[in-house]
């Protein structure tokens, strides 16, 4: 607002004309690097609302979380005295914390590979231009639009040991029924299956967009040189998808590490030692056990895990770019 007013009132009495601006408040020499005072004000008028929210809801909690993790603060308001690194040393010797991290990492492994491969196969098939484009996109992408609660309800029912479709299919091909969500280790795999079904559409879209950006010219040139369909796939398409695959891998791993919604809902609020992800342990420690200090410490351990994966991937991706 201020700038509009300033611009308009420039013709009237406008006493303050800072150096570097002409009488209309325009910046005359942005090249100097010396931003004028009005320039600063205008910039902060644009930035203000976002930065206020950013400081309040990201930076402050990030800092306050560190402080909380060093106290024995309780959700009930009790506690709050400084306990040093006690929460961290307790967490590092807490078997549940470690099993939660193990589950999270295992879940990331068993979802990332199929989520990238299946998405690639789907995108390659759809990109051949077979008829029914909108139907393919609808089928693969639609689940991504559903809320976690909706997909959890559907899959809890599919995995129902007595009447679920999953066991109906198993028995149709002569395999013993399984109590999918009630069996140790199988529970996390069941959650992974539901997750793959739910989110593969997103990666599929990213791949499809990338495929459609490969210029037709390259294929035409290859065809003139006598390269067949398969040859084109392996010498043009797949190499061109390298960078996208890197991005999808990073996004996917970071997404899988943050598992909570569908795991919590499919286990119907309960938890098993072989399916509880780390975010759920933060939730349980903080909101079931009321131990905000301890939950904050686990939050930071989780954050460090994400940081390690993120930085590791950045380094790997950068090296690959450098080599090629």
């Amino acid at each position: 607002m201020t700038d509009v007013m300033a611009g308009r009132s420039a013709a009237g009495p406008e006493p303050r004309v800072t150096p570097g601006e002409d009488s209309k408040g325009r910046r005359t020499s942005p090249t100097r690097g010396q931003a004028s005072r009005r320039g600063q004000l205008v910039a902060w008028a644009f930035l203000g609302p976002f930065m206020a929210a950013f400081l309040l809801f990201v930076i402050w909690p990030l800092i306050h979380g560190i402080y909380l993790s060093l106290t024995d603060q309780s959700l009930t308001g009790a506690g709050g005295s400084f306990v040093g690194l006690e929460n961290y040393s307790e967490a590092l010797s807490d078997p549940v914390m470690w099993s939660s991290i193990g589950n999270t990492v295992w879940f990331t492994v068993i979802t990332t590979v199929p989520l990238v491969l299946l998405a690639l196969i789907m995108a390659l098939l759809v990109n051949t231009g077979l008829p029914g484009q909108w139907l393919w996109r609808l089928s693969f992408f639609m689940p991504f639009l559903l809320a976690s609660t909706v997909i959890s309800q559907i899959w809890v029912w599919i995995f129902n040991p007595q009447i679920g479709a999953a066991n109906d299919i198993l028995s149709a091909i002569g395999i013993e029924p399984i109590a999918w969500l009630q069996t140790a280790h199988v529970d996390l795999i069941s959650i992974a299956i539901a997750t793959i079904w739910w989110t593969v559409g997103f990666n599929f879209l990213l791949y499809l967009a990338a495929l459609q950006n490969i210029p037709d010219l390259q294929y035409e040139a290859a065809a003139v040189d006598g390269a067949g369909r398969w040859r084109q796939l392996f010498s043009i398409t797949i190499p061109q998808l390298g960078p996208v695959t890197g991005v999808i891998l990073v996004l996917q791993m970071l997404a899988s590490l943050k598992l909570f919604d569908q795991a919590y809902q499919m286990m119907e609020g309960g938890s098993s030692e072989t399916s509880r992800p780390i975010v759920q342990y933060i939730f349980e420690a903080g909101f079931v056990g009321y131990r905000f200090g301890y939950a904050s410490a686990i939050s930071y351990i989780f954050f460090v895990l994400i940081l390690i994966v993120g930085i590791f991937q950045m380094v790997v991706l950068r090296n690959r770019k450098g080599n090629s």
């Binding site: 644009f46 950013f54 089928s139 992408f141 639009l145 079904w197 990213l206």
Partner: protein, 309 residues
């Protein structure tokens, strides 16, 4: 719907329609030097159809079950129509309950408000990062981008504590405010603004328009497509968000759809057709929107998805 079928490269599509057999394998994107209907193509079609069916089945199954009587639903089996026929009992029971409307409405308006605030404040900030120079702009931008790596799940404890001190637990503000900071949006919009020719703005500024006026009358109209794409993305995220609304809201009348449904999942756990009817009702709004705006949504998600890199 047929118009969306041609969203992918279709330049030579109309030239080469071979009305083959019942399967109507129509070529829309023939690669050069390829036979019209090779076995590879048929195989690809079968593979694609199989996968699509696999992906559609769970949803179809939910719909089918929602129209069964409870007895039929509870007896399982892969039949399309139960022995007791098709019924809308489950839907009637749920809608009579009344809460689903309230939750859907809450979801709709809170998601709309979150989208509006997020996109507005992000567009303003992204413009500042792109065009205005101010002290520390580089560092502040770096800090915002670096914050993308911070998982929101790691902030739930201090954020909840903050909401306790602000007295915002169990309020709409407590639900909305922590969701309006989305650093990837800043990144995407800044990239877009960077690509807008400065000359367009300079012309307006020579005419005496201030920065804000230039922003609203020159830059924003140019940015409509990207703002649309970003809005779609933010809205879907807000609509489907579970963890934060689940933590901050306890009052049943303030709940969003995903959170409300979670509470009845346990209550109705054994009434399968009702649970499925709820799932279908909850999915319906976005599915309908998707059917109408498939192209825009697909484009929006693809654009925004890459922005996060």
């Amino acid at each position: 719907m047929s118009s969306t079928a041609t969203a992918t490269r279709t330049d030579d599509a109309q030239v080469d329609i071979t009305p083959v057999d019942v399967t109507k394998v129509r070529r829309t994107n023939r690669m050069p030097g390829e036979r019209p209907l090779g076995p590879a193509r048929i195989l690809a079609f079968i593979a694609l159809a199989f996968m699509a069916l696999l992906w559609l089945l769970p949803m179809l199954w939910a719909i089918v079950t929602s129209f069964k009587t409870e007895t039929d639903a509870a007896s399982g089996g892969l039949n399309l129509i139960g022995p007791n026929g098709v019924t809308t009992q489950a839907y009637e029971a749920i809608l009579a309950e009344g809460n689903v409307y309230v939750w859907a409405l809450n979801s709709l308006w809170t998601s709309a408000v979150i989208t509006l605030i997020t996109v507005s404040i992000s567009a303003l900030a992204a413009y500042a990062f792109s065009r205005l120079d101010f002290k520390g702009s580089r560092w502040i931008f770096l800090a915002v981008i670096a914050s993308i790596i911070v998982p929101p799940q790691a902030l739930i404890i201090p954020l909840y504590y903050q909401m306790l001190t602000f007295n915002m637990v169990d309020t709409y503000w407590g639900l909305i405010l922590p969701q309006i900071v989305m650093a990837p949006i800043i990144f995407i919009l800044k990239k877009f603004f960077d690509a807008v020719p400065v000359e367009l703005e300079d012309a307006a500024r020579v005419d005496g328009a201030g920065r804000l006026r230039v922003f609203f009358s020159v830059v924003l109209p140019l940015s409509r497509p990207i703002l649309g794409a970003v809005s779609i993305f933010v809205f879907i995220q807000a609509w489907n968000n579970f963890l934060w609304p689940f933590l901050i809201i306890n009052d049943t009348t303030l709940m969003t759809l995903p959170v409300g449904l979670q509470t009845v999942l346990s209550a109705y756990g054994v009434q399968y057709s009702q649970v499925m009817a709820q799932a279908v009702l909850a999915a319906l709004p976005l599915v309908i929107v998707f059917l109408f705006y498939q192209r825009q949504i697909v484009k929006g998600v693809a654009t925004t998805g890459f922005g996060g890199q």
